[in-house]
C-alpha cells in the first residue's frame, strides 16, 4: 500500500466531508466556526499552511469538533500550534496550549508493520460548554506533490460563519484546482511573480449525518512539483506517470543468480500465460506482504534485490519484483497505480492528481490483458478479485503514464455455483447427505483461502454453514482447487448428515424444493449462474402428495427454471437460476429482487405418511 495517500485519506477522514441534509429537517448546531486558511507554495517546492480557527462550541457533542490530528514526519513539520480556551461570555482565558502540550502517537494502520509518521493530537477533554477556542496552526511540507484539499466544514452539526482561503504561488510553478459545490470564481491578485487566489464562504448552515448533497470543498493539485529531489509536472497523467517512473527506476533489476533462477523456472514453457502463472505462483509462495514505510519509502518501492534477500516487501516492491521477473521472461508489463478497496474515489481524467493507494501489475497479452495482484497468495494469475476491479487506474509506462480501466468481471464464468445434493431421508426426520459442489470464480475464493490458511475443522464448519440449508454436519470431505487459466475453481465432495431435514406434521413431511436461500453477497456484482440438483430418496412409509410443477420464469433481471421428476423412490429436482442485474441497480431494487427470487424458492414437496 501507499502510505502517504493512506495517511492523507485518514487525515481527511478524521474530519470527514459532511453532506447537506434535505432542507426540511432542522439540524441542531453543536458549534460555530470561523476560519482563515493560507496556503503558500514556495519556489523550492515546499508548501506552508497557516490556519486560524475561532470555534464556539455550544453543545458537549461538539467538543470533538476541536480535535486535530496532524501528521508529523520527515516530509511534514508542524511549526507552531497555539490554542486558547476562553469563556465565551466573560472572555476570560481558561487555558492555553502550545505545540509541546500536544499528545504524540504513531500513525498506525492495519496495513503497515511500521510507519515513521507521528500524529500530533489536540483534543478537548473535560470542558463544560459553551466554550470558545481560538487555534492557530502553522505547518510546512517539503514537497508539493500532495497539496491538502480545502474542506471548510469538517463536522456534522457545525455552522460555518465564514471561511476564507488564500492560495499564493509563484506563477512559474502554477497550481490547478477543482471546486466542488462552489459556484463562483476566486478573486485573483498578482504581486509581481506571485499570484494569490482568494475564496470566501459565509453562513453555511449545519448539516446532519443523513445526507444527499456534498459540502463545498476544493481539491488542489500542483503543476510543476517535486518530492525529495524527483521532479515532474502533474498537468497530465503522463507527467504523473513520469514521476512514478523515476521513483521506480532500476528497482526491478534482478541479481544475476536470480535471473538464472527465473530462466530455470520458465524453461520448457512456451505459452506466455504459463510463464506468467509459474512466476506468479513462485512469488505467492515465497514472498510475504510486509510494509515498512519510512520517508519517501511510502512512494518508492524497495529494490527487487532487497525483496529477494528478505523474502518480503510492500505492494510496490512485490509488483516491481514481479515486473522484473516477467521482464527476464521476455514478457513486458506495467506497474500500475490503483485505489484498492471498496468505494474507490471517482477519477476525473481532466484533473490528474494522486487518487491511489495501491500498486499492482498490468500484463497486456495478445488477446487480453491480465492484472496481477502481487500481494495475494492464493488466487490464480490474472484473477485480481474485487479489490481492484472495475475502476480507473494509472498505468506507468517507460516514459510516462496513461489511464486504463480494470475489468468489471461481470461474466457468468466468474460467478458460478453448481451444487448436487443426494439426500436420503430417514424415518427419524434426519437425512443422510452426499454431494458435490463446484464453485467457480468469486464463489471459490473463500474455500481456496481456507484450504491454504485454515484447519480441517475450520473448513468443515464453513461447509456446515454454507454448503446447503440448515442442520448440515459434514463428516468427511475432499476439497480440490484448480484453475482454468485465470478462473479459480474449488470442488468439494462430501458426506454427512442433515439434522431435521424438512418439517414434519402428524401426517406429512414437508421438504424444500430449493435448499439454499439467495443471499446478497452471492449477487454482489449482479451476475450469477446457480445450478442446483437435489436427489431425494424418501422413506418407504411415505408417498409424494404434491411436488412443485416444473416451471420457467424469465424476465429482464433473472431467469429461474425448475424441473421436477418424481418416482416411488424419490424426487429429482433441478434448479437453474441466472441473474443479470443492471450495473446501476439500486440497493433497494436489488433487495426486492433477491426477495422475489427467494419467494420462488419457497415451493415445497409434500410427502404423506402412509
Amino acid at each position: 500500500m501507499f502510505r502517504k495517500f493512506c495517511l492523507l485519506a485518514s487525515y481527511l477522514a478524521i474530519a470527514g466531508i459532511p453532506h447537506f441534509l434535505s432542507a426540511q429537517i432542522e439540524v441542531p448546531t453543536f458549534s460555530v466556526l470561523e476560519r482563515k486558511d493560507f496556503i503558500v507554495l514556495n519556489l523550492d517546492y515546499s508548501v506552508n499552511y497557516k490556519s486560524e480557527y475561532s470555534l464556539l462550541i455550544l453543545d458537549k457533542r461538539g467538543l470533538d469538533h476541536a480535535t486535530m490530528k496532524m501528521p508529523h514526519d520527515k516530509l511534514n513539520q508542524i511549526q507552531n500550534f497555539e490554542a486558547t480556551i476562553k469563556n465565551p461570555i466573560t472572555g476570560k482565558v481558561i487555558k492555553k496550549y502550545r505545540l509541546k502540550d500536544l499528545k504524540e502517537i504513531s500513525y498506525i494502520n492495519n496495513i503497515s508493520l511500521f510507519d515513521d509518521t507521528k500524529l500530533k493530537i489536540f483534543e478537548l477533554e473535560g470542558y463544560q460548554t459553551p466554550i470558545m477556542i481560538d487555534i492557530q496552526v502553522e505547518r510546512k511540507t517539503n514537497h508539493n506533490f500532495l497539496i491538502q484539499s480545502w474542506i471548510p466544514v469538517k463536522n456534522y452539526n457545525q455552522k460555518l460563519k465564514s471561511a476564507s482561503l488564500d492560495v499564493q504561488y509563484p506563477s512559474s510553478l502554477g497550481i490547478r484546482y477543482k471546486e466542488e459545490n462552489i459556484d463562483f470564481e476566486p478573486e485573483e491578485v498578482k504581486v509581481g511573480e506571485l499570484v494569490i487566489k482568494k475564496w470566501l464562504l459565509e453562513n453555511i448552515e449545519p448539516v446532519g449525518q443523513k445526507s444527499e448533497e456534498e459540502n463545498p470543498y476544493i481539491s488542489i493539485a500542483p503543476k510543476k512539483f517535486a518530492l525529495e529531489g524527483y521532479y515532474s509536472n502533474m498537468e497530465s497523467w503522463d507527467g504523473f506517470g513520469k514521476f512514478i517512473g523515476q521513483l521506480n527506476k532500476d528497482k526491478d533489476k534482478l541479481p544475476q543468480d536470480f535471473k538464472i533462477k527465473v530462466q530455470e523456472m520458465i524453461s520448457g514453457k512456451d505459452e506466455p500465460y504459463e510463464k506468467i502463472s509459474t512466476l506468479y505462483t513462485y512469488l505467492q509462495q515465497n514472498y510475504r506482504y510486509i510494509s515498512i514505510s519510512l520517508g519517501i519509502g511510502g512512494w518508492m518501492p524497495m529494490a527487487s534485490e532487497d525483496v529477494i534477500a528478505t523474502k518480503y516487501g510492500e505492494c510496490k516492491a512485490l509488483t516491481t519484483l514481479m515486473k522484473g521477473m516477467l521482464n527476464e521472461a521476455g514478457i513486458s508489463s506495467q506497474y500500475t497505480l490503483v485505489f484498492g478497496g471498496d468505494n474507490p474515489p471517482l477519477i476525473d481524467p481532466e484533473f490528474p492528481s494522486n487518487r491511489f493507494n495501491h500498486a499492482f501489475l498490468r500484463v497486456p497479452l495478445e488477446k487480453d490483458t491480465l492484472w496481477l495482484e502481487c500481494t495475494n497468495t492464493y488466487l490464480p494469475a490474472g484473477f485480481a478479485g474485487s479489490f481492484t476491479m472495475d475502476r480507473d487506474v494509472l498505468v506507468i509506462t517507460e516514459n510516462g503514464g496513461f489511464l486504463d480501466r480494470t475489468p468489471n468481471y461481470r461474466t457468468q464464468k466468474l460467478h458460478h455455483y453448481k451444487n448436487r445434493y443426494e439426500i436420503e431421508m430417514l424415518e427419524s426426520g434426519d437425512a443422510k447427505l452426499r454431494g458435490q459442489n463446484i464453485y467457480q470464480g468469486f464463489p471459490s475464493e473463500d474455500l481456496i483461502s481456507l484450504k491454504k490458511y485454515r484447519s480441517g475443522s475450520d473448513i468443515k464448519n464453513y461447509l456446515n454453514k454454507n454448503i446447503g440449508g440448515t442442520g448440515v454436519i459434514i463428516i468427511d470431505y475432499e476439497l480440490e482447487t484448480s484453475q482454468i487459466r485465470e478462473v479459480p475453481i474449488a470442488k468439494v465432495s462430501y458426506e454427512g448428515i442433515v439434522q431435521r431435514y424438512g418439517q414434519q406434521t402428524t401426517k406429512r413431511i414437508i421438504l424444500p424444493s430449493h435448499w439454499k436461500k439467495l443471499k446478497e453477497e452471492m449477487v454482489k456484482s449482479g451476475i450469477l449462474l446457480w445450478e442446483e440438483e437435489i436427489l431425494i430418496t424418501i422413506p418407504t412409509e411415505t408417498e409424494i402428495e404434491s411436488a412443485p410443477d416444473s416451471m420457467q420464469i424469465k424476465n429482464e433481471f433473472f431467469s429461474f427454471q425448475v424441473d421436477v421428476q418424481s418416482s416411488d423412490k424419490g424426487i429429482t429436482i433441478q434448479n437453474k437460476l441466472e441473474v443479470n442485474f443492471p450495473i446501476d441497480i439500486t440497493y433497494e431494487e436489488k433487495e426486492r429482487l433477491i426477495s422475489e427470487i427467494n419467494e420462488h424458492f419457497l415451493k415445497n414437496i409434500i410427502l404423506k405418511k402412509i
Binding site: Q128, N461, T470, Q503, T505, S546
Partner: protein, 642 residues
C-alpha cells in the same frame, strides 16, 4: 471431570531467593527442533511455539523479565507468525524493552543459514494512553524456518507482576515461567489451569518454576464469554516486603505484610486520597451533592431518581479501572470520567440521601476470573459497580449507560460474585440479579370475508430481551420492524412499538400481516412470523468452550388459528417435549384442537445461561428441533360438500 479441573485455581504464598539457570538457549537448536514438521497433538497447526521462557528476577526495586520464544513455521500459511509485536506500558518508563535479539534459521543442505535482525529492523510504535509496542518481522521466512527471539522487559511496578499466559494462538510444546524472589519480597500467586496447578514449582532458595507442555492452540468460538478462564496462567501479587526506614529516629526495620484479608485490601484502596473524597465527602462537596433533590420519598424511588440524574448528567469516557481517574471535586466540575468515577459519584449522591451503598468490585466476563478465589487477590477484578440496598432490597448499579434502566447491568457484568468494599466486613458476596427475561408472543390468525388470512401478533420482549434491543439502539419502530420481520417484510398492515419501564422493562410490538386470499385445496399455515432464532446459530460439529446465552430466559409463544370457512383441519405439527441433558433447557410444543380453532403453545426455557461443551452436540440438535418445529404448519383442507 476435565472442566472442573480447569476451573480450579489455587493460591499460595512464598519467600526467599538466589540465582538460577536455564538450558533453553538462544541460537542453540536441538535435532528434534530441526526435524519437526508437524505437531502430533495439533496436526492442523501451521506454526508451533517450540519453547518459550520468562525468567524473572529483581534488581534495585525493578523486575527484569528475560523472555525467549522460539517458533517453527510448519506450513506456508504459518509465515504470518513472523510478525511480532511486544506491547508494554511505556508511560513514565514504567516498563521498557531492552536487549532485543531476533533471528531466522533455515537449513539448506544440512547447513544452518542464519539471518539476524539489526537495530534498524526493530520499530517502536507509540500508542495512545501510554502504551508502546516494539514491532519487527523476521527475514527470509520459509516453510521450516525457526524464528528465535528474546528480549528483556523491565518493570518498575512490582506490586502486581504481569501474569504469564502459557497458551499461545498456535500450539505450544513447552512454556516455562521462572521467578527468583529475593528475601525482602513476598508474593502471593494464583495458578490457573490443570497443568499449572499441578506443577512442582519449588526449585529451592527462592526460585520457583512452572513449566507446562503440549498446549493446543486456543481459538475463539461464537457465543463464548469465559475463554480466558481456560488459559494456563500464573499471576502474582505482592504479599509483603521488608523495609528499613532510616528517616525514623534510630531507624526502623521490619516486614510489612500486605493484604492478609479482604478488609486490608479494601482499606488499602479506600484510604487513597482520591477514593476517600467519594466515600467521605467534605461539607462543601456534600453541599454540592445535596443540591440535587430527588423528587420521590421512598428509598427506591430516590435511588431511581439519582440513577437517572447521574446517567443523564455525566459522560462516560469509555475507560475503566478501579482507581478513580480524578477526585470527586474535579469530577463534579467537568462531568466526564471513567466508569469508577461515575459509579463512585453515584454512590456519593446515594449516600448523601441516606441510602446504603457500597462499591463492589467484579470480574466481568472475559476477564478470566469467572470463579473468584476467596483470598485478597486484587488482580481478579476489573470493574467497579455499586451495591445499593433500598427499602431492604438489593440492587446492583452501573451508571455509565443512559439506555440501561435502573437495576439492570450490562450482560458481561453478570458475575456470580463480587467484592463488597465496606468499612468493615468486606468480602465476597453473591450477585443475585432476579429477572424474568424472555419473549412472550401471542398470534391470532383469522380469515376475513374475502378469505384473506389476517395474522395479528403481540410480541413482548421482557427485561434483558428488551435491553438487548435498547442497547443496540434498535428499539425504534423502523429498526424493530426490520429486526423482527426482515428488511423486505411485505404485507405488513400495521406495526407498533411501545416501551414500558414499570414494573419491569419491556418492549411490546404489535403487528398485523395480511396474507393472500386462500383458495387452494390444501392450505398450509405457519403461525409464527417471529421467533428467537430464525435458524440454528450453531453450525460447528464440536465445541471447546461453553456456550453463553448471556442471560436465562423463558419464552412463551401462543397461536390461535381460526379454521377458515369452507375448510377443515387436516393436519398439524406433532407435540413435543424435550430437554437437553441435565434439564437446563427445555422445549415444549403442544397443539390443542378446539371446535373452530387450533391452539399452539410453545415454551422455550433456559434455566442456565451457560451450556457445557460436553453436551454441545445435544444442544445443537435441540436447537435444530426448535428452529425446525417453529416453522411447521397447520394444514387445512377444503371441506368436502355434504
Amino acid at each position: 471431570m476435565r472442566n472442573a479441573h480447569l476451573f480450579l485455581a489455587i493460591l499460595l504464598s512464598f519467600f526467599m531467593s538466589k540465582s538460577f539457570a536455564q538450558n533453553f538457549k538462544f541460537g542453540k537448536y536441538s535435532p528434534q527442533e530441526i526435524e519437526l514438521t508437524s505437531v502430533d497433538f495439533d496436526p492442523d497447526a501451521d506454526a508451533v511455539v517450540l519453547g518459550e521462557t520468562s525468567s524473572n528476577h529483581f534488581l534495585r526495586g525493578f523486575q527484569y523479565s528475560a523472555i525467549h520464544r522460539r517458533i517453527k513455521v510448519l506450513k506456508e500459511s504459518g509465515k504470518g507468525r513472523a510478525v511480532v509485536g511486544i506491547r508494554y506500558y511505556g508511560s513514565q518508563n514504567i516498563q521498557d524493552i531492552i536487549k532485543l535479539n531476533a533471528q531466522t534459521i533455515n537449513w539448506e543442505n544440512g547447513t544452518a543459514k542464519i539471518v539476524k535482525l539489526g537495530k534498524e529492523d526493530f520499530f517502536t510504535v507509540v500508542h495512545a494512553d501510554g502504551w508502546k509496542e516494539v514491532r519487527f518481522t523476521f527475514k527470509n521466512v520459509q516453510e521450516g524456518s525457526i524464528l528465535d527471539y528474546s528480549y528483556t522487559k523491565v518493570n518498575k511496578s512490582i506490586r502486581f507482576l504481569e501474569s504469564w499466559v502459557f497458551h499461545n494462538s498456535i500450539p505450544t510444546i513447552k512454556s516455562s515461567y521462572i521467578i527468583n524472589i529475593p528475601t525482602y519480597l513476598n508474593y502471593n500467586f494464583l495458578a490457573q489451569g490443570n497443568q499449572t496447578i499441578q506443577c512442582d514449582f519449588k526449585q529451592g532458595d527462592g526460585i520457583y518454576k512452572w513449566e507446562v507442555s503440549n498446549l493446543r492452540s486456543i481459538r475463539e468460538e461464537p457465543m463464548i464469554s469465559n475463554y480466558n478462564d481456560y488459559l494456563e496462567k500464573i499471576s502474582f501479587q505482592l504479599a509483603g516486603y521488608a523495609f528499613a526506614n532510616s528517616g525514623t529516629y534510630g531507624g526502623a526495620v521490619g516486614f510489612k505484610e500486605s493484604f492478609t484479608s479482604w478488609q486490608e485490601l479494601v482499606q488499602y484502596i479506600t484510604d487513597s486520597n482520591d477514593y476517600s473524597q467519594y466515600l467521605k465527602p467534605n461539607s462543601s462537596l456534600l453541599g454540592q451533592l445535596k443540591s440535587f433533590i430527588p423528587s420521590q420519598e421512598s428509598e427506591t424511588q430516590k435511588a431511581k431518581d439519582i440513577y437517572q440524574y447521574v446517567t443523564d448528567n455525566f459522560t462516560f469516557t469509555g475507560k475503566t479501572s478501579f482507581w478513580p481517574s480524578k477526585n470527586l471535586k474535579a469530577f463534579l466540575e467537568n462531568k466526564q470520567g471513567e466508569r469508577q468515577d461515575i459509579n463512585l459519584t453515584l454512590l456519593a449522591y446515594l449516600r448523601s440521601n441516606g441510602i446504603t451503598a457500597y462499591p463492589l468490585l467484579i470480574s466481568s466476563k472475559g476477564n478470566g476470573h469467572s470463579n473468584l478465589v476467596d483470598s485478597p487477590f486484587m488482580d481478579q477484578f476489573d470493574q467497579l459497580i455499586i451495591y445499593v440496598n433500598a427499602d431492604s432490597k438489593d440492587y446492583f448499579l452501573d451508571a455509565t449507560n443512559k439506555s440501561m434502566p435502573f437495576g439492570y447491568l450490562p450482560l458481561n457484568f453478570h458475575a456470580n460474585q463480587g467484592l463488597i468494599m465496606r468499612e468493615k466486613d468486606s468480602g465476597l458476596i453473591p450477585l443475585q440479579m432476579a429477572h424474568r427475561s424472555g419473549i412472550v408472543q401471542r398470534v391470532d390468525i383469522k380469515f376475513n370475508e374475502a378469505n384473506n388470512m389476517v395474522s395479528e401478533s403481540v410480541v413482548r420482549f421482557m427485561e434483558y430481551d428488551a435491553i438487548t434491543y435498547l442497547n443496540k439502539n434498535l428499539a425504534d419502530p423502523e429498526s424493530m420492524k426490520s429486526e423482527i420481520l426482515g428488511i423486505n417484510a411485505s404485507k405488513i398492515a400495521s406495526f407498533e412499538v411501545e416501551e414500558k419501564t414499570e414494573p419491569r422493562k419491556l418492549i411490546e410490538t404489535k403487528f398485523q400481516i395480511l396474507e393472500n386470499k386462500i383458495d387452494e385445496e390444501t392450505v398450509f399455515v405457519s403461525p409464527f412470523h417471529f421467533v428467537r432464532w430464525s435458524e440454528n446459530p450453531f453450525k460447528a460439529e464440536v465445541r471447546t468452550f461453553p456456550v453463553d446465552f448471556g442471560f436465562i430466559f423463558n419464552d412463551n409463544y401462543t397461536a390461535i388459528i381460526e379454521i377458515p370457512e369452507g375448510y377443515e383441519l387436516d393436519d398439524y405439527p406433532e407435540k413435543i417435549n424435550i430437554s437437553i441433558p441435565g434439564g437446563n433447557a427445555t422445549f415444549l410444543y403442544s397443539v390443542t384442537i378446539l371446535n373452530n380453532s387450533v391452539n399452539i403453545n410453545v415454551s422455550i426455557n433456559f434455566k442456565n445461561q451457560l451450556v457445557s461443551p460436553v453436551i454441545y452436540p445435544d444442544l445443537k440438535y435441540f436447537m435444530e428441533i426448535i428452529t425446525g418445529k417453529l416453522k411447521e404448519p397447520v394444514v387445512f383442507k377444503k371441506a368436502s360438500l355434504p
